[in-house]
Symmetry: C2
Subunit: 197 residues, 2 copies
DNA sequence: GTGTGCAGACTAACCAGTCGGTATGTACGG
DNA sequence: CCGTACATACCGACTGGTTAGTCTGCACAC
């Protein structure tokens, strides 16, 4: 058994996932061949199909990881002990920072979701919905408390904010003038300002 | 010469473009075969390659159409004779309505841009940049006049709004509770509220 | 000696683009 | 009016290349 023959000690499945993530983000799911993935990971097809059932499974695994991470972080911020406007601000800014820090995952997430089979797509949608609803609940809480305007339905506000998060992978460049934290502060600001009563 | 043998009278090139638009939006560029396109248009490959140089040319043509339309509309609203907050509001709402009314084009635009060759991609980026800058100029005009807050750089505000426009193709459903105009009013509202000094 | 981890040749399917061919229309000389 | 010449519009079989996934087999661990 000669696992991890690349010297890094990283297990093969994780190497495959990392290579796939980078390549999917760079060239898109359909434009990335299984051959390229296994070469980038320093193994062969035998290894890939030993650990994953299909190319699609790799994609789904990328999604699952991102979703788990973001949901955990949102829950932590939303359940914190602070005024609702503070919790929303922190959550809104945090998702921007973590998205920028994992721009590869984000590009894949938003550009390649429709490449999943209907059944796996549905599964992802269900988890995304849970995330969306937790975020919406925060806004509704603030609206009920009178600290946020009720002029716009909470659902739309969520989509407004996540639109901008979604969009990050299109325009944000690490070598640009703004740090991830600065972008996050600005976008959270815009959200909170839009919600002023 | 037996063009338009489908009885509709629509010229073949336009039928091809319409079929390609629908299929690209439905299944993605890479998942749509040239064979499927010509079958949907009721012709054969010979016809397609008679009018278009490549499959990619079809995609580029879709882009060109959308960009022309949106730029024209933006220019009209931006050059109108009205206070800047009114012009921005109208332009911001209009792009939402026309995007919803051409959701197929929008999905293709945002999901398949990276499928264009570097050189054609660059061309599209240049035109998109022109659009972005016209929009930004509106915001900067308002900021200079003191009617918009200067807390956020105008560039970021533009990306914030277009993030939400971009995102429409992900969540908007024609059979949902909101009409395109209602969505547009809400999103334009959010933008203007975020910009209040 | 048995199972896990992997190698790599192989297959069956698919696909963008090509090309020789046909059919209809238009221009023009006589 | 008619025939020749050329152009436009389109057909559909074919090609060269690529791809996801399979399968046989080997090597090492226990």
């Amino acid at each position: 058994m000669a696992r991890t023959t690349d010297g890094s000690g990283t297990p093969v499945p994780q190497r495959l996932l990392a290579a796939a993530t980078r390549l999917f983000a760079e060239n898109g799911y359909d434009r990335t061949s299984v051959q390229e993935i296994v070469e980038a990971a320093g193994v062969t097809k035998g290894a890939l199909y030993h650990y994953f059932g299909s190319k699609e499974d790799l994609l789904q695994e990328v999604y699952a990881r991102v979703l788990r991470l973001q949901q955990e972080r949102l829950d932590a911020f939303a359940d914190a002990d602070a005024p609702v406007e503070r919790r929303l601000r922190d959550a809104a800014a945090d998702v921007v920072v973590t998205t920028i820090e994992n721009l590869d995952d984000a590009s894949i997430f938003f550009r390649s979701m429709h490449h999943l089979s209907p059944e796996k797509n549905k599964q992802v949608r269900v988890e995304r919905r849970r995330y969306h609803e937790r975020f919406r609940a925060l806004i509704e809480e603030g609206q009920a408390a009178g600290v946020f305007s009720t002029a716009t339905p909470a659902d739309l506000v969520v989509d407004y904010h996540f639109g901008s998060v979604h969009h990050l992978s299109t325009w944000y460049r690490p070598d640009g003038p703004l740090t991830p934290q600065q972008v996050a502060d600005h976008l959270a600001d815009l959200l909170l300002r839009a919600l002023r009563p």
